[in-house]
């Protein structure tokens, strides 16, 4: 057990504790001491004594305040003039140093790159050759890009879709206004919604009519892009983004009440999770059978047909659904923190 020193009471730690507890300082102690001393002389202090004490107290109090003010002013002045200049100076130096070092690293990297267009570059290997020559035969996709990203490199695309889903999750964590299911119209929610509707008219006729005309076409174009991803340019990402944009336009024209009839948070959850797990499971099956030379019921089919190219159209639909839901979720959460 540690010994308590004799002068423990006067060391800094208990003094700090005491100061924290009742806020009394040594100055106050001196004052009380003085009062006590003066009381010892006469049993009852006269009015003059009390008045004098009070005046002295006042004087001290005022002096302390003045000292503090002077100190604050000094510190403030320092932070305003010299300090600001110092920090500014450090910032500039650091900015230049960081910039120069990044430029140096990047240039160093660039100097190690192989010369542009030389035939023995690592880019010109048998992989791209094989993609171009046998891509259609092996995957059944006329669009060679779709064949690459959803067949040869499907794992990569799964990672990308997951990144989107994770991004949506982080937006949910950061921006979701906690909604109470039992009391739907909480003050905070109403505030957010009022803030959301601040700059725009609620039912703009022109916007609504144009939207009613445009949204079906945009949606159909998005669906076309997704479904024809393996035949023509397009695919899950672009088609999904177009569909998401169409949903956002619809939401802007008609408000949350109309969209909540068909797209709620539950829809987002179900669609995203189902699409991602379908992607993962079906591709796991395809990789497993392909790697072990097992018979797979997934066949390339006739190239150019809508339902051909094995898994690619279905994977495109899954990716498109994830992208569409993610875009819509981003927008709704940025606007009112809910779906």
């Amino acid at each position: 057990m540690a010994k308590i020193r004799n002068d423990y009471e006067h060391s800094w730690w208990p003094r700090l504790l005491q100061w924290l507890e009742d806020g009394s300082t040594t100055l106050d102690d001196e004052l009380t001491d003085e009062i006590v001393e003066s009381r010892e002389g006469h049993l009852l202090p006269s009015h003059e004594d009390v008045a004098a004490h009070e005046a002295r107290l006042e004087e001290r109090h005022r002096k302390t305040l003045e000292d503090e003010q002077a100190m604050y002013d000094h510190a403030h002045q320092w932070s305003k003039t010299k300090g600001a200049r110092l920090v500014d100076w450090i910032y500039r130096i650091m900015a230049v140093v960081i910039c120069v070092s990044i430029i140096w690293v990047l240039l160093q990297t660039a100097s190690y790159l192989p010369p542009f267009g030389s035939p023995d570059n690592p880019v010109n290997n048998e992989v791209s050759q094989r993609y171009i020559e046998k891509g259609m035969e092996e995957t059944g996709a006329v669009n060679i890009v779709a064949g690459m990203i959803l067949d040869y490199r499907a794992f990569d695309t799964l990672g990308e879709s997951n990144v989107l889903f994770i991004a949506a999750c982080s937006v949910l964590i950061l921006l979701r206004v906690s909604s109470d299911k039992k009391h739907p119209g909480s003050v905070h929610q109403l505030e957010v919604e009022a803030d959301d509707r601040m700059y725009e008219p609620k039912n703009d006729m022109i916007l609504q009519h144009i939207t009613a005309f445009l949204v079906p076409m945009i949606l159909v174009y998005g669906v076309y892009g997704v479904m024809n991803g393996h035949i023509s340019p397009g695919g899950g990402f672009s088609g999904g983004a177009i569909m998401g944009a169409a949903l956002i336009l619809y939401l802007n024209a008609f408000g949350f009440k109309r969209t909540e009839r068909f797209f709620t948070f539950k829809t987002f959850k179900v669609v995203s999770v189902c699409a991602l797990s379908f992607y993962a499971i079906s591709k796991a099956y395809s990789f497993f059978t392909g790697a072990n030379h097992l018979h797979s019921f997934i066949t390339p089919g006739t190239p150019g047909m809508l339902f051909s190219a094995g898994l690619i159209p279905y994977l495109n639909i899954a990716v498109g659904a994830v992208v569409c839901c993610t875009m819509y979720a981003f927008y709704t959460h940025f606007r009112k923190g809910d779906m």
């Binding site: 669009n143 890009v145 803030d195 601040m198 700059y199 892009g225 340019p233 397009g234 695919g235 990402f237 672009s238 983004a241 177009i242 998401g244 944009a245 956002i248 875009m327 981003f330 927008y331 940025f334 606007r335």
Partner: protein, 92 residues
């Protein structure tokens, strides 16, 4: 074709520089949008229409929409209207 290509590339460079130099946040988002649009035209000229569609939908559409909504959320748009240009970007 060559001329159009060079024109578009110059337009993109000018846009990219002016986005960072514009004081008004609203204007810089609009410039950013137009830069994305020019970029999508360049993608078409480079014969990659799928990238062009994605660029137009994501770069010009959804990204700028999200930026606009963010400006609205931090009340940067109305302050800029009040305080002419440039000075109203910091909150309250």
């Amino acid at each position: 074709m060559e001329f159009l290509n060079i024109l578009l590339l110059l337009f993109i460079i000018v846009c990219a520089i002016s986005v960072s130099l514009t004081k008004n946040l609203f204007t810089s988002i609009v410039i950013f949008m137009s830069q994305s649009l020019a970029m999508s035209v360049i993608w078409i000229m480079l014969e990659s229409p799928d990238l062009a569609v994605t660029e137009a939908a994501v770069g010009a559409g959804i990204t700028s929409l999200l930026l606009f909504v963010t400006l609205k959320k931090i009340h940067a748009i109305d302050q800029q209207k009040k305080g002419a240009t440039g000075h109203g970007q910091d909150q309250e």
